[in-house]
């Protein structure tokens, strides 16, 4: 005879086993589709590059990782810092941060506007914000090109108004990439911002005004602290894909203004250096993870608290 305690323990064990069984299909897919490729990439980054792309299987070497920040001179074999790579890393981080800030400054008022509309109108505005998502990113990027190129709308109008005498070169600069990425990723900022703003009890705003806070003080002391989770979520959602952006810098930045995504693509394509490409990809992932960790730590430290 089993004691009640034994029966309970057995039932719990059975429960746990069932849970594992039921979740196993999902776990298998995650293992194969997400962790598997990452593992392959890690493996490739430590192998010798093949002569025509690919890698030489099971011939291990540190060359891939070596190449991330260093380069070997082709004549005398001296090691120098890979300036080009550093420039590209820096441009990626800088442009991603600027994109995040730009979308935050554009997205905040947009989200506030939507959140303060009557309930019925909000859905329409949200729908409008998400429309660009329905279009292929390549087409959206080319549309941006039409706006900012030398014969595009912005330059034509400014010349016509006499603000400038000759078109300003925006295409193929960092600024063009910034414009493009801010445009492409803006909805990713607006939606989480809206989600947290919608939850705000606007009587808190009234209470702020009632207690002698001016509009700016209400924004700074009440609205922003309450929307903080949305600001953090939106920033993560914009910063991370910006860092790995490929299409936008390719189209708007031209060949000179590469970002990390383009550099990685280059290694797998014309560069025929898969180990370097794999090492660069993992480096990008490490940067993203570090950025996320910093965010998460900051978020939990201040945890809605405000002095």
């Amino acid at each position: 005879m089993a004691t009640p305690r034994e029966i309970a323990v057995a039932a719990e064990r059975r429960d746990i086993r069932n849970r594992w069984l039921l979740t196993s299909p999902a776990l298998v897919i995650i293992a194969l589709a997400a962790i598997g490729p990452l593992f392959v990439m890690l493996l490739y980054s430590f192998m010798l590059k093949g002569d025509y792309g690919d890698v030489k299987p099971w011939q291990f070497s540190g060359d891939g990782w070596f190449g991330v920040f260093l380069q070997r001179d082709i004549f005398d074999d001296t090691l120098t810092v890979a300036d080009a790579h550093i420039t590209i890393f820096w441009r990626s981080v800088k442009l991603s941060l600027m994109t995040t800030l730009a979308t935050l400054f554009l997205g905040f008022p947009t989200a506030y506007f939507i959140a303060t509309r009557p309930a019925k109108q909000r859905d329409i505005w949200l729908f409008l914000v998400t429309i660009p998502f329905w279009t292929n990113i390549l087409i959206r990027t080319f549309a941006m090109q039409e706006v900012i190129r030398n014969e595009g709308i912005v330059n034509s109008v400014m010349v016509w108004l006499g603000l400038i005498s000759a078109p300003i070169q925006i295409m193929y600069t960092d600024l063009a990439i910034l414009f493009g990425m801010a445009y492409v990723y803006l909805p990713l900022m607006v939606l989480p911002l809206y989600a947290s703003m919608e939850k705000i009890d606007f009587r808190l705003v009234e209470a702020g005004y009632d207690l002698y806070a001016t509009r700016l003080q209400v924004l700074r002391r009440i609205i922003i602290p309450l929307v903080k989770p949305g600001i953090i979520a939106g920033s993560i959602l914009v910063f991370i894909p910006s860092l790995g952006a490929y299409v936008t810098p390719r189209v708007l930045g031209g060949g000179k203004n590469m970002m990390l995504g383009n550099l990685i693509e280059l290694q797998f394509g014309q560069g025929r250096n898969w180990p370097l490409g794999a090492a660069l990809s993992i480096t990008l992932m490490i940067i993203v993870t570090l950025a996320l960790l910093i965010y998460v730590r900051n978020a939990s430290k201040s945890g809605g608290g405000h002095g």
Binding site: D201, E206, Y209, D210, Y212, L226
Partner: protein
């Protein structure tokens, strides 16, 4: 009533809702609220009481009319420029701040030095008996405590007028009773004018110095609780506050504050008139159930009828009398001492009340 703290002069507020239909929330409302007064706006939901409060606070602006604070028109000032603070219905405490930070917020926004803010916060915490909870988050305290914090927060900047928008409605019965006493105490101690909005007549009667009864965007009657209860001017006021017997009748004659009314139910009775009232034709007379008594049928009785029902309430007993001339009349007897009831269902009885208990309504 001393000097006026708040005066509303011909205030009208029309809400334009998406073009076609507009809502007249306030219709030419004028009222004067004295300094250091506990003034209550009483009425059913949708009567305009909260709208009037929001106009005084500055969250909305009147379509027409003036709102004066100590004689100065403030109707167009934004809320942060008015020395008026509000206790919101659901408190609207800032969830990202502690109790102490909430209370100090107004002073901080006024740019008071930190030491002064700290001292005042401590003083307010003491006033509402919450000293130990200064560093708690507002989500970590009970409803009654949140209520106290909301009060302390609104009182901390020493407003000229404190507005309270149904602040007790979210509390349970016992806590509500406690807070009623607490509010009255705070008003006495601070000497600030309180404007209190409620739909609860009992709350209004027990706490207020004066009450304004509102309906459909208008103020129907302003007066002390006793005025409002004992001398209702119009049917709505008589009906909204307490229970009332309505008797229809025709004016026979009027003389200095009194009228003779021939009731539809038969007898002719004397009833008090409102100040300056000169009624004629068909009128309504009201008698509060506790101002009349049931007696044995006799010539002394004002009205006579048959006892239809007796309902025992513990503290008092309600007698429902079917009047001989038609209509019903309810009498409330206080159960002064225990014992058998004097009457039984079906008895022929008389109803007795004096001329001062009966009152002719204006409408």
């Amino acid at each position: 009533m001393g000097k006026a703290a708040i005066e509303a002069v011909g205030v009208t507020k029309i809400f334009q809702s998406s073009g076609q239909d507009s809502l007249k929330a306030l219709d030419n409302v004028s009222v004067t609220i004295g300094e250091n007064e506990f003034f209550t706006l009483l009425g059913p939901s949708g009567c305009g009481k909260t709208t009037l409060l929001r106009l005084i606070a500055g969250f909305d602006f009147p379509t027409d009319g003036q709102i004066l604070l100590h004689g100065q028109d403030i109707a167009t000032l934004p809320p942060f420029q008015r020395p008026v603070n509000t206790v919101f219905q659901n408190y609207a405490l800032f969830p990202h701040m502690t109790v102490g930070q909430n209370i100090g917020f107004g002073l901080e926004m006024q740019g008071k030095p930190k030491a002064q803010v700290e001292a005042r916060v401590a003083e307010m915490l003491r006033l509402v008996q919450m000293e130990e909870l200064k560093n708690r988050r507002t989500s970590q305290i009970s409803g009654g405590q949140q209520q106290r914090v909301a009060l302390a927060r609104a009182l901390a900047p020493e407003p000229k007028v404190l507005l309270l928008d149904e602040p007790l409605s979210a509390l349970d019965y016992k806590l509500r009773k406690e807070m009623q006493i607490e509010l009255k105490r705070l008003q006495n101690e601070t000497g600030i004018t309180f404007i209190f909005v409620t739909h609860d007549q009992e709350e209004a009667l027990t706490m207020s110095d004066r009450i304004a009864v509102m309906s459909m965007g208008r103020i129907l009657q302003v007066g002390s609780p006793r005025d409002i209860y004992d001398r209702p001017a119009v049917r709505f006021v008589a009906n909204f506050i307490g229970e009332t017997n309505f008797l229809e009748g025709k004016v026979v004659s009027t003389a200095k504050g009194q009228a003779k009314i021939a009731l539809a139910a038969g007898p002719t009775i004397a009833a008090a008139l409102g100040e300056g009232a000169k009624p004629s034709g068909m009128v309504t007379v009201v008698v509060r159930p506790e101002h009349a008594s049931v007696i044995a049928a006799s010539g002394k009785a004002t009205l006579s009828g048959k006892l239809e029902n007796i309902v025992y309430f513990g503290t008092d007993t309600h007698y429902h009398v079917k009047l001989n001339g038609g209509g019903e009349f309810t009498v409330r007897h206080q159960n002064i001492h225990a014992g058998a009831l004097a009457f039984e269902k079906g008895d022929k009885v008389g109803v007795l009340f004096g001329a001062d208990a009966a009152r002719v309504l204006r409408d």
